[in-house]
Each structure stands twice: as C-alpha cells, then as structure tokens.
C-alpha cells in the first residue's frame, strides 16, 4: 500500500514564490478549452459535461482532452507544452483526495504561470490541502473551485447536475464573462 509516496508539487523543477495569474479571456466565444482529467472517479465525466456546457452556452470549443498518468503527480512538461499550445483555457479536476487536490492546485498554478487561465475543481473536503499547496507554491490566494465531497460516488445524472452547478464559476474563473 505504501510502496512509495508521490510528489504532487513539481517543486523540484519549477520555481516557487511567484504569484500566478494569467490574463482572463474577454469572452469564451471561439475559445479553445482544454480538459485535464486526473483519473479520479468521475473526473473525466464531470470535465466532459462542463466542456459540453461551455460549448453549448458560451460558444467555446473543446480542443484537447488529456488524462494524467497519475493523479498525485504534477502535469509533466510534455503534457504542459501540448496543452498550452492547444488551448486558451484549461479545466483541471477533480481534486478528490489529499494528494490529488494538492496536485490539481499545483497544476492550475503552473498553467496560470504559463499564461493559460485555469479552473481547478476540488471537492470541499480537501480545501485545506488545496490551500496549503497553494501556499507552498507561493500563491496562497490561488482561486480553486470547490464542489461538495464526494464526487467519486455520484451517478452520471448527478455528475451532470454538478457540472451545471459549476459552469458559471468555471467560466468566471477563466474569462471576464459572468464576473
């Protein structure tokens, strides 16, 4: 069970102490959306639902969907490079455990520092670790989005409801729309 402890920070390869904050898009119309699924149960479905809503209601286009190799690890450089080239905004989720919430926040801060507005979704049970990771990365005020815990046990209909509940805050997080 404890063969290894993974490092969700990426601090060995990225500088800390630099506040994040990419420029928000004025509108999502025509914006390219990237979805980064961290493999947690229902993450892919939730992100897909949010992507569809961003498309149907705001005119965005989902241009890239990727899945992390492991939820506890930070996004690696090849994936970061691919996604920042292929999308204008990114939605990351779901931080539904201690290490994956920390990793998701680390990913969001990384995307922001690369100039890509990022909406990071965590379940509210892990707000403490998510916030602590933001502090570790020197961006204590990083604005992650929360949804009630748990996400993993939801059925597809419930996931769709969650997506609808999150849509406006996701949009407001990455663009000027809805602010």
């Amino acid at each position: 069970m404890f063969d290894r402890i993974l490092d969700p920070t990426g601090l060995s390869v990225r500088p800390a102490g630099v506040a994040s904050g990419a420029r928000r898009l004025p509108s999502l119309a025509g914006a390219r959306v990237g979805l980064l699924d961290n493999t947690k149960q229902n993450a892919a479905l939730l992100l897909a639902e949010i992507g569809e809503l961003m498309t149907s209601r705001y005119g965005a286009v989902v241009t890239i969907r990727r899945t992390k190799e492991m939820f506890a690890l930070p996004v690696d450089e090849p994936l970061l490079s691919e996604m920042k080239t292929a999308c204008d905004v990114v939605v990351v989720g779901v931080g539904d455990c201690g290490s994956c919430s920390a990793s998701a926040v680390a990913d969001g801060i990384t995307f922001e520092r690369e100039g890509v507005p990022a909406a990071v979704i965590c379940s509210d049970a892990f707000a403490v670790t998510a916030r602590a990771m933001a502090e570790v990365h020197g961006d204590a005020d990083f604005d992650f989005l929360m949804t009630p815990h748990p996400v993993a046990v939801l059925n597809p209909e419930q996931v769709a409801v969650r997506a609808g509940e999150l849509l406006d805050v996701v949009v407001a997080r990455v663009s000027e729309e809805g602010r």
Partner: protein
C-alpha cells in the same frame, strides 16, 4: 504558537482519506504521526516534505522541529 483549530482541520481532511493524525509536543518540537486505516489509498497522502511544509505554520515551528512518521516508516 500551535494553531489547534487549523490542526483539527488538517486532521479532518486527512481522515477523509482514511489517515489519522496525532501530534505530541516533544521538547521544542513535535512528534507527528500519521496512521492509516486498512485499505487506505497509499497514493492519496502527500509526501512528507509537503506535509511538513503544511504543518510549519500550523505548529508554529520550523521544519526541523517536526518529526513526522508515516504509516510504512
């Protein structure tokens, strides 16, 4: 100074994943132990260096004053 409220929040967060936090004062520092329920997800616990960093402001001490023990230590 130790922030008991934040420490309780951290303990509650760890408990969601099946981990249990105990903290004992020891001299000028703290002995911190993490135990795990059976079948707990081993990858859901942040690495030691990160948890120590998270605990520093909560316990009000430097990292070298926190002796952290993980389940498989």
């Amino acid at each position: 100074m130790k922030d008991d409220a934040r420490l309780e929040q951290m303990a509650a967060t760890l408990a969601v994943d099946g981990y249990h936090l105990t903290v004992e004062e020891s001299g000028a520092g703290f002995d911190v132990r993490i135990t795990a329920d059976p079948e707990t997800c081993g990858d859901c616990l942040v690495p030691k260096k990160i948890l120590v960093t998270m605990l520093q402001p909560i316990l009000g001490v430097d990292a070298d004053a926190i002796r952290l023990t993980y389940p498989n230590d």
